[in-house]
Symmetry: C3
Subunit: 344 residues, 3 copies
């Protein structure tokens, strides 16, 4: 029997500077948009209404920024994370062009760092992943690093290269979509009156609502992004018989829940970092809170930038993140640091 | 911590004559149509096939009438029913324009009645809700009344105004979509041979089929309509750990099941009234029966109107509605009174 | 109470040569495509990307071939299998035209064989089902035979006619879509390097991945195809309280899983036969393996035909099909024999 299936890459298979073209480009449509809104309580008006988007200077309502992220990310799984032991971090994520129904996305990843672990059995791979549309425009990019097993333990360790990554993007690093204009923003249609000026750095917002997670839903979502990691779908894969939920499902759930209190944080423009603090399984009830980390003006008319910590929990706690030991509390699922654009 | 989240409105917050503009307009597409058909066994040909719709004088297959209702209704939840104790009734519902993929819907509600309860702790709010498209045309409207808690028990009671509502719309109150013509109706493609003339007032139809309800499905549906009521999604919200199913999910399920026996009752034109007789939870098997309440001719070629009682049950019973005490039997989930259009 | 519901057809209701026009035509859109990819781990690039499809000579990405099959099949259920005791077999299935978003499909079935069983209580009905688009072009056809109960046991037995059916379609029987050209095929974007020439007759491929089946998912899928068979939806229908999963759900799941090892077997062109070896229920984990049965060249540039046995299992076994008694092993769910088109 020939081995035709994809064994995935092992640590020794990555070469510094190499650009991996990921498979299976994807044309998105109104179907992806409807499913995104059916799977998450997503209500940001710019992504829900073509009319609202046009009033904000865009040609139509784009696909939710995180849906674009999931499509781009999903394509990388067979090449980056099939043999990954752990997803260690994100940095320098930027949304560069809105994605519209009819666009076709594909992904590439450039290997920008490698570091074999001291145990000689695994190593850390740093990649800068880019999502491109059918015009070869980069629609988003982010850095991600994962720990990957070695297959051949005798393979020599590569030279250690750890990329210098910005701990936080500056507001000036953010790309504002061409034409975006919030000077005529309709707060009533958007759902809340709170503008950029109403938020204070340090402010914590309890998003109140919760969603109890179902197996069918996280699998439908994860498949839609063509993410093939076995652990999300096959109940016989883990010894405990549980399906581990794709971390991106929790990100989208928390972001959608954050509408209640941050309805005007319309567009995600930057991802500074993120940690999947604890695994998520079916049956848990996800709630969310946010903390305002920073604020900045932008050059676009009426558009301010707000840096937010978005935390998803399984226990409904608000404001607590880590214990005295510096580790995430058991009820914390996600700790995400991102920049959003909102009307001033 | 500032309270940025929406606390909802309390009884004392409603003013007679006030028009509330609801948030988050929604552009619908083929995605919403596909999801509607995936979530309910919907088979009415006019909503399934562009060709069938064109042969009936419409430009294309509209979105199912109840999907349009759910979109319009969902937008009202944050302003009308977040603090509602009970959904008391519907009246004077009319579908005025078909909704097509590409349309953008928003909702407004006019407060048309107020009555504080004698206990001083809550009151009844009557609203006339309208759904509008991107051309500001009213696509549907209905009256709904809910019991809402007071937050400030010392707030003075408003003057009691109870609107005069028609118990039943006359057939002449119904709006027939422009161009609708059933003179060339294809009964074979529609799925059944029974025309308007074949139904008798008083006739009861057992729709035979049943669907067992899953958590994932009702949540997907309810989110798609951007209905945010906690009780549908959060298993930690009710003391019994059950997620109460959105009443509209039962309406759509029963209407779709009614295809078997009423395949030619194509369009819903009017809603006379409705009661969610008992709560619905995951695991129940929904079945449906209908009773012909009235029939009328219309001015449109080949088009008759039929008034139907649509009953959803959890026990498969047919024909029984209320016990000797005048209360709904425990196996009745829904009692809906509506007008449909069918070929003569 | 008049019986308005569809009782289905019984064995004595079928007449040789009769053509049954099935109800409820269906316009498909990007919504159906998104749902197909959300319900199955489908990743074949030709069906995922308009750009990839155009580079292969097609105007856009078609709907997955099996989605087209499910739509066509679903329409036949009320007329063919409502009173069926068993689905006995498939033969001579051919995909003749790709189906694109915007197409409207309907189905017809010609009765091509009848044989009453010796017990006099049931009989076998052979039909050739055709799916047609809005231009009355046949997009696919297949022969299916089912055992159907008699209602009137005194109805005379029809003359026995058993159609001559090809055990296997020849490669020359396959219809290659107009314009299909794999000479510029991009293996990187397609996801695997293995071309037609890399597969050997007799080769067995373990597709490795598995998906645990959920009630919500198979019901969503089955409804999307407007398949109304009670047994899939109503947990009160079978004495054991289980919902039998639509056989087509297992077919699509297995085909999608076969991407891993057969990513370049892009298009399904022919169905030689198939058996639903054992029933499938929620909770089972479906895996798949394939065996290369035959290979043939085609007249289209760069396009080869490969005949595959696709087997779905519930126990993860690979390569074993039947026991010593000639019966399918209990862990086998599906045994399907089909032709696919792949780049040479």
């Amino acid at each position: 029997m020939a081995a035709k299936t994809n064994p995935g890459r092992f640590f020794e298979d990555y070469k510094l500077g190499e650009v991996i073209e990921h498979a299976v480009p994807r044309t998105v449509s109104g179907g992806e948009r409807a499913l995104y809104h059916a799977l998450y309580p997503a209500r940001h008006a710019l992504y829900s209404s073509d009319e609202f988007a046009r009033a904000s200077g865009l040609p139509a309502a784009p696909l939710d920024d995180l849906a674009a992220f999931h499509v781009v990310f999903g394509k990388t799984v067979p090449d980056i994370s099939l043999n990954a032991v752990a997803n260690l971090g994100y940095a320098e994520g930027r949304w560069l062009k809105p994605v519209y129904p009819g666009d076709t996305l594909r992904s590439t990843s450039e290997v920008i760092g490698l570091k074999q672990n001291s145990n000689g059995k695994s190593g850390v791979v740093y990649v800068r992943t880019r999502g491109l549309n059918q015009r070869d425009e980069v629609v988003m990019e982010y850095v991600r690093w994962v720990m990957v097993r070695k297959n051949d333990l005798d393979a020599p360790a590569p030279e250690t290269v750890i990329p210098e990554l910005k701990k936080t993007l500056a507001a000036s690093d953010l790309e504002i979509p061409a034409g975006l204009d919030f000077t005529g923003y309709n707060y009533t249609l958007a759902g809340e009156a709170h503008r950029w000026g109403d938020y204070e750095v340090g402010e914590v917002i309890d998003h109140v609502d919760g969603v109890t997670i179902e197996e069918a839903e996280h699998m439908i979502a994860t498949r839609l992004w063509q993410n093939t990691a076995k652990v999300h779908f096959d109940a016989t894969f883990r010894p405990d018989g549980q399906r581990l939920i794709y971390g991106g499902h929790v990100i989208s759930m928390a972001r959608a829940l954050s509408f209640n209190g941050l309805a005007n944080a319309q567009m995600i423009a930057g991802l500074n970092g993120g940690a999947h603090a604890n695994p998520c399984f079916s049956g848990l009830t996800v709630k969310a809170w946010s903390e305002v980390l920073d604020k900045a003006e932008t050059a676009a008319p009426g558009v301010g930038a707000i840096r937010l910590r978005l935390v998803a929990t399984s226990d409904g706690s608000v404001g607590d993140l880590k214990g005295e030991d510096g580790k995430y509390l058991p009820g914390v699922l996600l700790d995400l640091d991102y920049w959003a654009l909102m009307p001033i």
